[in-house]
């Protein structure tokens, strides 16, 4: 009976009408079978096709669905894929357990690779016996592709957010450094001017004659104290100085030798040995020679201070190509597989670092030295310099005692 809500030429049958008209029901099911783009099939207990719809026939490259009757999946799919389907149906025949919404990857007879969503059900007779199977599969390649695109877009978005966050942190860091710079300049002005007066006063007094011999000692102590305070303020200015590097292809071995000369005054008051194991075939590295020299001077000074009474300083250089991750070098965004790296190691035989100190050595104003011996800025400045060169720096205790500082830089040209 036509519904008042539908146009007059549209006939709608209610369920009891259909049930009363099997021919009509069969026609409707046939219409669904033939008009859907899903692949629908019926198989016997041996997994041979007894009926397939037009969409599946097209998929198999058959003109007539009847041509599939009596054939197996082995006639249409690569052996491995057909075997998997066959096994699924064997299991279904034995247990009656359906396969629902199984995602399969399959190659079409034309060689196209598609993703399909498959459902298989047991086909039973009126007695409930399994007399075959039937099922449908839907091509979901486009959905999978869309998902993959979405996933890729999400990854790109995450990457962009990570970069944005990194830039944001850099901006915050730059702003902080600007503030520290202003603070340092203020401190320098307010502290170094009084220091200048004290220093000049001590110079004046040193040139006088005093009856009391202690006066000369006191003057020297005050002069040394002024120098210490001056070094702290200078270090603070270094730490907060505008971070610029002037890069030029440089010989790291040459810089190390120059830095050793500059730091030799620190290796006094004991028996020291300096061993150089510098790779003569080291490639050039684009770096700021003055800044990198300062980084090495800081490391050598630290080593000397750690070896109170004497010891051995070993300076070693080498180069290698990064062939994979996990090669004992921080590769998190710093280096890429294929980069040629220059590695400089500074090893001492000093007292080493406590567990607590190992994680803090690069923090500003952290020092293990006695009061007056260190500003706590040397390694901070060194790390800043290495960071500016896109390199890495690491420090760890040596099993035999002392520490090993490893600097890794990217060579100027690949192998």
């Amino acid at each position: 009976m036509p519904s008042p809500d539908f146009p007059k030429n549209c006939r709608v049958l209610v369920a009891k009408d259909v049930a009363a008209d099997p021919a009509r029901l069969k026609q409707m099911l046939a219409t669904v079978m033939e008009s859907t783009t899903d692949h629908i099939y019926f198989k016997d207990t041996e997994s041979r096709f007894v009926h397939i719809n037009r969409a599946l026939a097209l998929f198999f490259g058959l003109k007539d669905p009847e041509d599939a009757v009596g054939k197996w999946d082995f006639d249409f799919f690569p052996r491995e894929a057909a075997e998997q389907k066959f096994q699924d149906e064997r299991h279904l025949m034995e247990t009656g357990a359906p396969v629902i919404d199984k995602v399969e990857f399959q190659e079409t007879p034309k060689g196209e690779r598609r993703w399909v969503l498959t459902t298989k059900m047991p086909l039973r007779n009126f007695d409930g016996q399994i007399i075959g199977s039937f099922g449908s599969s839907r091509d979901i390649t486009a959905i999978k592709q869309a998902n993959a695109d979405l996933s890729r877009s999400r990854e790109e978005l995450m990457e962009a957010m990570k970069e944005l966050r990194s830039v944001q942190l850099q901006l915050i860091e730059a702003e902080k450094m600007k503030l520290v710079g202003r603070l340092a300049a203020g401190v320098a002005h307010e502290v170094k001017n009084p220091l200048a007066i004290v220093a000049m006063g001590m110079d004046y007094m040193r040139r006088q004659q005093f009856e009391d011999p202690n006066i000369a000692v006191i003057v020297q102590e005050i002069t040394d104290a002024v120098k210490r305070a001056d070094n702290v303020v200078r270090g603070l200015l270094d730490f907060s100085a505008p971070q610029r590097v002037v890069l030029e292809p440089s010989d790291v071995n040459g810089l190390i030798r120059q830095a050793l000369i500059l730091a030799r005054g620190e290796f006094t008051g004991g028996k020291f040995e300096v061993v150089e194991e510098l790779d003569p075939s080291l490639p050039l590295v684009r770096l700021d020679p003055m800044k990198m020299e300062q980084a090495f001077v800081n490391l050598f000074t630290n080593a000397a201070h750690a070896m109170k009474g004497g010891g051995t300083l070993l300076v070693r250089t080498s180069s290698r190509q990064l062939t994979g991750l996990g090669e004992n070098v921080s590769t998190s965004g710093t280096f890429q597989v294929g980069d040629r790296l220059v590695v400089a190691e500074v090893l001492d035989t000093g007292h080493g670092l406590t567990e607590d100190a190992e994680g803090k050595v690069f923090e500003p104003f952290f020092t293990t030295k006695p009061t007056g011996k260190g500003t706590g800025l040397g390694l901070t400045v060194t790390k800043t310099i290495i960071d500016l060169h896109g390199g890495t720096i690491g420090i760890h205790n040596r099993p035999e005692g002392g520490v090993c500082v490893t600097i890794t830089l990217k060579a100027d040209a690949p192998l």
Partner: protein, 124 residues
Amino acid sequence: MKKILIVDDEAGFTRLIKLTLEKTGHYEVIEENDGSRAWETARACRPDLILLDIVMPKSDGGDVASKIKSDWTLKNTPVVFLTAIVSQRETTPGALIGGYPFISKPVSLDALIKCIEENLARKS
């Protein structure tokens, strides 16, 4: 005897520079603690060399140096900046600030005299 003008708002510092330099018997030192009056003082005393602090209230060292450079009676007078705000990295030999030599405070008397003599020699 060479005449040195020191311009610095730290009166204690200029006083000690005067005392120590004059004690050597080779220098006469004139102090000026007001940057805005430095140029007039220089014109009045015609020094052989000017030690000039950079950070001063009213008129900073850069302004004073420019004024001196543009004055034909003073333009050949060597100017050496005095500054407290200079890092370790920047105190390399031959380094200049704005094209002028400089001394980092605090400075020893020996280093000060060496710098003065080098710049006086450059003038002559």
